[in-house]
């Protein structure tokens, strides 16, 4: 048992020092009926490092990884190239194996990084303040809605049709128990965002309007127009960004009037990881900072007057306010925030813009190429790196059949909206800088064969 340092002589000496006859005797307070006499039956015994590695590698080999096929999936999880130094740096033990920075004098590395991260996120989103990250984009979205309820003291929520359906499900799950009234319609397979319908629905009971930008079909809603309408009714605009790389090319939600901007930070530094752990981003205006959930890192000074950083405004948090807290969240995504922050500092202003431009250029190329395939129609007029196609036939079958040919063609909207027959022909295609022009050609060829 390679992870356990105590030897049998150590154990004997310690038991003697304690005055206990055996280790089992230390469990005397456990009711007899619930004490297991030995290792649980039917489970394997410990295994060597090599044996475990072999088992896990065998499981990994059963998967078709994104990098081993032409790959076009997105819908809230994006494949981008991660510079080698990012993973190297987050694996430094002082980052990887540290805990929440409860003792700031010996946690300045994590704290300064979080302060830098908060500043990066606030700037990217066009907001004044950001927190030190949340679980993921979907849960951050719900936390933002909760925050809007606390600020406006209203409970009617309008979700734009283009909000990711998993985010909608997450919100609906929570609202079922808190009593917020949720209004949402599934999108139509159309190039138009339903901004006017959204605006018409805003009323004096509305706490917030939640709009994804770009939305789940890759379309671009007019946040400025929606913000103006929401503010006129005393409601807040929550913008949701699932692809932060897009903000290297697009105006920021904050600049367009969003009051709270949340997002999924996985695109920068974190990697696909089959859905988690990801990284919730959360930013808002300074005046709402005390209503913001999650951890916050702030600048201060030490006893010698030197600049330093601490976790702050903890009086909002569960460990002090308990049932009056702004959220029950305790854990954030510190290590993912570090990866995000390193990747973004390697890119910088210039790099993020170039990365966004390259994503958009390749996506335009792919959209035009795929639109030429007989039986394929490009839905979007505007998009960043993700767009919807209407294919002749059931897109779920198309995706499955293309997977059998070794092409990961995209996300069938039928998978995201199983109860919406009108979206069954929708195929969401995502292109990033990792997509080669050969990949695009391969997808076009495979689609052409499949739809012939």
């Amino acid at each position: 048992m390679r992870y356990l340092p105590l030897t049998d002589p150590d154990r004997a000496a310690m038991l003697q020092a304690i005055g206990a006859p055996s280790v089992d005797a230390l469990f005397a307070d456990v009711p007899e009926a619930a004490r297991l006499p030995g290792p649980i039956d039917g489970l394997p015994r410990h295994a060597s490092e090599m044996a475990v590695e072999r088992h896990m590698a065998a499981l990994a080999a059963k998967n078709l990884s994104a990098g081993s096929a032409p790959f076009f999936l997105g819908a809230g999880a994006y494949r981008h190239h991660i510079p080698a130094s990012v993973d190297h740096l987050i694996q430094r033990g002082e980052f990887l194996t540290s805990y929440t920075p409860y003792q700031p004098e010996i946690a300045q590395g994590t704290l300064q990084m979080l302060f830098e991260f908060q500043t990066q996120v606030a700037r990217l989103f066009g907001c004044e303040v950001a927190n030190a990250s949340m679980y993921d984009g979907s849960t951050a979205c719900w936390e933002a809605i909760s925050m809007a309820r606390r600020i406006t003291r209203r409970g009617a929520v309008i979700l734009a049709d283009g909000l990711h359906p998993h985010y909608v499900s997450t919100v609906r799950t929570m609202a079922r128990f808190t009593g917020d009234a949720i209004r949402h319609a599934a999108p139509a397979l159309s190039s138009d965002c339903e901004d006017a319908k959204l605006i018409a629905a805003i009323g004096e009971e509305t706490s917030c309007v939640v709009v994804q930008y770009p939305d789940v079909l890759g379309r671009l809603p007019d946040l400025a127009r929606i913000a103006e309408a929401a503010h006129a009714q005393g409601a807040l605009l929550i913008a949701v960004v699932t692809e932060p790389v897009a903000l290297g090319a697009l105006r920021s939600p904050g600049e367009m009037g969003a009051d709270i901007v949340v997002g999924e930070g996985q695109s920068l530094g974190v990697g696909l990881q089959f859905g988690g752990p990801y990284l919730g981003l959360f930013a808002t205006r300074e005046k709402y900072v005390r209503q913001m959930p999650g951890r916050l890192c702030g600048e201060t000074v030490d006893a010698d007057g030197r600049r330093g950083f601490v976790l702050t405004l903890s009086t909002r948090e569960q460990h002090i306010r308990r049932d009056k807290a702004t959220s029950n969240i305790c854990t954030n995504s510190g290590l993912c925030a570090l990866a995000f922050s390193i990747h973004l500092s390697l890119l910088g202003e210039k790099g993020l813009r170039a990365l966004a431009a390259e994503n958009h250029r390749l996506a335009c190329l792919a959209a035009d190429r795929l639109a030429q395939v007989p039986g394929v129609e490009l839905v979007n007029t505007a998009f960043f790196n993700e767009f919807a196609l209407r294919v002749s036939g059931n897109a779920r079958d198309v995706v499955r059949n293309l997977a059998d040919r070794g092409v990961l063609a995209g996300v069938a909207l039928g998978r995201l909206y199983p109860d919406r027959p009108n979206l069954a022909e929708g195929l969401l295609v995502t292109v990033t800088e990792t997509t080669s022009e050969e990949d695009i050609t391969a997808l076009a060829a495979a689609l052409e064969e499949e739809l012939a």
Partner: protein
């Protein structure tokens, strides 16, 4: 001379005969000061080679193209590597030494786990990839889930909760859904005083009124008080076992029986599962729902605050209400992902989805590698050694530190002390900061709230006897200084990267983001 581009320069206390003189750079040999990325990066620097952006390229951004600068600093690769490496050196971590944070369970993070989590077959996998192409990933989720069920003696497991507190929410929502399914509108959740702060917050967020249940003088749930309060309005009791005083709830079976008799459910906070893993199945204690912090018991790295992962095990009664998605295996051994489209028949009561996608897959691979490495026999040894180490600390220090429950029996995985016996003016905080100068991360301070000036020490099973002996010797010496009122304790830490930080000032006038030309740090 301004060394730092921000105009800020570290200032040191007046040099005295005992302290080294200030340096020009603010650095001290290998202990290097580090400016912010905003002070060293520039808009023109880039550490990644990318195609030049063509400024006049046509776009299809619908008129929303960005014109304003974002304000992001860029670093070249060597600058970035140095920046983050220097920052890392200002962190304490389990790789450096003992991290005895009670209730947080900081144990060795095996690097094999990191290696397997990074296999492209796991790391480079999209959550919405066709199910036929991700059978190995679903097998990891399924296999880990089966282990968690076996270790807890429970009927079902929900894998998607993203952290312990998210798991609490999952358990309470399952309870609420089960109650609603039988037309029951109970409104109250009872939470013992010794519970984690997330417990009452969770119950409140699920729409419940929260009431506290007192602890006995022995540091356990007051069963009589609990029984008096139980009634038709109580939905659940949230209990932490082993509890935050480091004690096993001896009456747990009776507590569960009383709660069930009242028509309510037992939620167990599984943050302390490391103490009993492989030896006690919570299902045998009558627990209906319990989250398991994979980062604690199964040693997935917590990276400066997260990510966590909080799968929830559920009893037969709650199993039908678990959240989506699930992984299920059919008779032919094929794994299926049960989501919205195919949950209808077998999981009609599911309360829905708690987050996008399937949970913290990167943590599942690590936890499974950890579990397979230990096996059933090793996990039993884990809890045995963790409890042995905690009791060794308790007995080795109880003559110099007040141990409020030291006489109520063995502790479990953590030893609890109070500030009783310290000289006037010396606090738990002083003790904690003095430990920093000795090279140890401090214990958990001022928690649980039921003990004055609490110090909760959890060594875990991955500490050697030699490390424990050194820690005990250091803490004994500090305790002696606290008893006689050594005023120098207020100055600790003297040798950390920073002296005591002014947390009050940080909260009074929050500075949460760096501002261009912002005021330099006060001198």
């Amino acid at each position: 001379m301004n060394v730092n581009p921000s105009g800020w320069r570290p200032s040191m206390s007046e040099a005295s005969a005992e302290s080294p003189p200030a340096t020009v750079t603010g650095n001290r040999a290998l202990m290097l000061e580090e400016p912010l990325i905003f002070e060293i990066g520039t808009a023109e620097t880039c550490g990644v080679d990318l195609p030049e952006a063509a400024t006049d390229a046509p776009d299809r951004l619908g008129g929303f193209a960005r014109s304003e600068a974002i304000g992001l600093p860029g670093l070249s690769e060597p600058e970035a590597v140095r920046h983050y490496t220097r920052l890392s050196r200002q962190n304490y971590a389990i790789d450096l030494g003992l991290f005895p944070l009670g209730s947080c369970t900081m144990k060795h993070n095996p690097r094999l786990n990191e290696k397997v989590a990074r296999l492209p077959g796991f790391a480079d996998l999209h959550p919405l990839a066709p199910v036929s192409t991700v059978q190995g990933a679903l097998a990891v989720i399924y296999e880990l889930g089966e282990w968690l069920k076996a270790l807890t003696g429970m009927a079902a497991v929900a894998m998607s909760p993203k952290a312990g507190a998210h798991g609490e929410l999952c358990g309470i929502l399952a309870i609420r859904a089960a109650l609603e399914a039988r037309g029951d509108t109970r409104q109250v959740v009872l939470v013992p005083e010794s519970a984690h702060g997330t417990n009452p917050a969770t119950a409140a967020f699920a729409g419940y009124a929260v009431e506290a249940i007192p602890a006995t003088a022995e540091g356990r749930v007051d069963l009589a008080a609990l029984e008096r309060r139980l009634g038709p309005d109580v939905a659940a009791v949230m209990i932490t076992n082993p509890n935050t005083c480091g004690l096993f709830e001896r009456e747990m079976i009776a507590i569960s029986a009383a709660v069930h008799a009242a028509g309510a459910f037992v939620y167990c906070d599984g943050a302390n599962f490391n103490a009993v893993v492989g030896r006690v199945r919570p299902g045998d204690l009558g627990v209906d729902a319990m989250h398991i912090n994979l980062h604690k018991t199964f040693s997935t790295p917590h990276g400066g605050g997260g990510p966590g992962s909080g799968p929830v095990v559920l009893s037969e009664k709650l199993a039908p209400f678990a959240p989506l998605p699930f992984v299920e295996r059919d008779a032919a051994g094929v794994l299926h992902l049960i989501e919205e489209e195919n949950a209808g028949d077998d999981h009609p009561g599911s309360f829905g989805r708690m987050s996008a996608f399937h949970g913290q897959m990167g943590m599942f691979t690590r936890a499974l590698a950890y579990i397979l490495s230990h096996g059933a026999d090793g996990l039993r040894q884990v809890s045995g050694d963790a409890v042995l180490n905690a009791n060794y600390i308790l007995r080795s220090l109880e003559d110099v530190l007040d141990a409020p429950f030291g006489q109520t029996g063995p502790c479990m995985h953590e030893a609890l002390f109070s500030d009783g016996g310290f000289a006037e003016g010396i606090s738990t905080l002083d003790i904690a900061k003095a430990l920093i100068d000795e090279g140890f991360h401090p214990m958990t301070m001022y928690f649980p709230l039921v003990v004055h000036g609490a110090m909760l020490i959890e060594p875990t099973e991955t500490e050697s006897k030699a490390t424990l002996d050194q820690f005990i010797a250091a803490l004994r010496a500090i305790a002696e200084r606290a008893r006689v009122g050594d005023p120098s304790l207020h100055q600790a830490p003297m040798m950390a990267p920073r002296r005591r930080l002014d947390e009050a000032a940080a909260a009074r006038k929050p500075k949460l983001a760096w501002k261009e030309g912002g005021d330099a740090a006060p001198s």
